[in-house]
């Protein structure tokens, strides 16, 4: 297998892995990492509180819908979540990097093939 072809295969594998990582970490829009500010904005509910409120009828009926939540965790996003290096990781930047490398390899191998054909025809 030529170098260019190897690059294409590796690139495709990297993109596939990146897509799997994106799905596995919640298919979020922006890459994010564990965030201390988010961690400080919440705390585990005191044990026993839920039972207490359930007995008091606080959680009865449709009104008692759970609060939406966001956890402090890593999520590999569709696009970068910030300008710092770890937030630049994303599906889009991965695809872009692979596309650049594969595209360069493709163009180089085509150019090389065209030159080889020209050399051969002149020799003949």
């Amino acid at each position: 297998m030529t170098v260019a072809r190897s690059l294409h295969v590796i690139g495709a594998a990297v993109v596939a892995a990146a897509m799997l990582l994106w799905v596995a970490t919640g298919s979020e829009g922006f890459t994010r990492w564990p965030n201390e500010r988010l961690e400080r904005s919440d705390a585990p509910i005191t044990p026993g509180e839920s039972d207490l409120l359930a007995e008091a009828g606080f959680t009865d009926e449709a009104i008692a819908s759970p609060m939406p939540n966001i956890e402090s965790r890593f999520a590999f996003g569709l696009v970068p979540g910030g300008p710092d290096p770890r937030h630049l990781l994303s599906l889009a930047t991965t695809i872009l990097l692979v596309a650049v490398l594969s595209g360069s390899a493709l163009l180089w191998s085509r150019r090389r093939g065209a030159h080889a054909a020209l050399t051969t025809s002149r020799a003949l």
């Binding site: 829009g29 922006f30 994010r32 965030n35 201390e36 500010r37 988010l38 961690e39 400080r40 904005s41 919440d42 705390a43 585990p44 509910i45 005191t46 044990p47 026993g48 509180e49 207490l52 409120l53 007995e55 008091a56 009828g57 606080f58 009865d60 009104i63 008692a64 819908s65 609060m67 939406p68 939540n69 966001i70 402090s72 696009v79 970068p80 979540g81 910030g82 300008p83 937030h87 630049l88 889009a92 930047t93 872009l96 596309a99 650049v100 595209g103 360069s104 163009l107 180089w108 150019r111 090389r112 030159h115 020209l118 050399t119 002149r122």
Partner: protein
């Protein structure tokens, strides 16, 4: 012919890098635009305080009025959601401070008044860059308006839902004034849920004193409070949903502080 071949080889050996550079030159603008769009920055925000002075109840209160003080710095008290076509944003805060004045003994849900204040700088969405944008002058402008304030004037449509030996649970409509981004508006929050619990061994695991739990869900429009931005409504919804769960205690502030869990260590990323 050899010389011409040599010339061809030299031109070819310079041609591959040129092609690579050309392909990069073609793709880079796309990459730059996409990354720039993702990282579109508003003017850097000044750092407002992450806490504020706790509002105090009036000096003179009718005899027997029970003052409930908000327990903050613990579980999340408010979660907001912006569901826009291009982006869904969820954020939360446990920085709400304030008080509520219970109503008469037979109808404590008829609150005699309440004031709650949320420091804007305590809102967190999980993305440092987005948090900076949120408090910038283009959005909530925390530098000029560091707090979001709600002052309750009355509770309407009060309905008792359940009563027990040590508790009563009610629903009602909160009526009051919300101040956000320097703009004050009358607001009604229907279907708020209140539970008043007398102090017991089980409630002391949460906090000393009698407890009041207050839950409500409502929505506000950013445009109603003078917040307008090119990202609305594509990336940020004009209508933001809020879900609140407040825990309040009738204990004194000192008793609450003594019984509070140990604070988490400060971080380098603290605002």
């Amino acid at each position: 012919m050899t010389a011409s071949l040599r010339c061809d080889r030299r031109s070819h050996s310079l041609g591959a890098p040129r092609l690579a550079i050309a392909s990069l030159a073609g793709l880079l603008p796309v990459a730059v635009l996409a990354t720039a769009a993702a990282l579109a920055a508003d003017p850097p925000a000044t750092k407002p305080p992450a806490s504020c002075a706790e509002p105090q109840p009036p000096q003179s209160l009718p005899e027997g009025t029970i003052v409930y003080r908000t327990l903050s710095g613990r579980e999340a008290q408010v979660t907001f959601t912006s569901a826009a076509p291009l982006e869904r944003i969820v954020g939360k805060s446990n920085g709400i401070v304030g008080f509520a004045l219970a109503g008469p003994a037979d109808e404590p849900a008829r609150l005699a008044g309440a004031t709650w204040v949320l420091p804007v700088a305590t809102l967190a969405t999980g993305l440092p860059l987005r948090d900076e944008h949120m408090i910038s002058s283009a959005w909530l402008d925390a530098g000029a308006h560091p707090d979001i304030r709600f002052e309750l004037t009355r509770v309407d449509a009060i309905r008792e839902l359940k009563r027990g030996e040590d508790f009563t649970t009610w629903s009602g409509t909160l009526v009051g004034r919300m101040t956000l981004h320097g703009v004050s508006r009358e607001m009604q929050v229907p279907d708020a849920r209140f539970s008043f619990l007398k102090e017991s061994a089980r409630t002391r695991a949460i906090a000393p004193g009698n407890l009041l739990f207050l839950k409500c869900d409502y929505a506000i429009k950013l445009s109603d409070f003078g917040i307008r931005h090119a990202d609305v409504p594509g990336k940020v919804s004009d209508s933001v949903s809020l879900s609140q769960m407040l825990r309040l205690s009738s204990a004194t502030p000192d008793a609450i502080r003594k019984a509070a869990p140990a604070p988490s260590p400060p971080s380098a990323t603290a605002p």
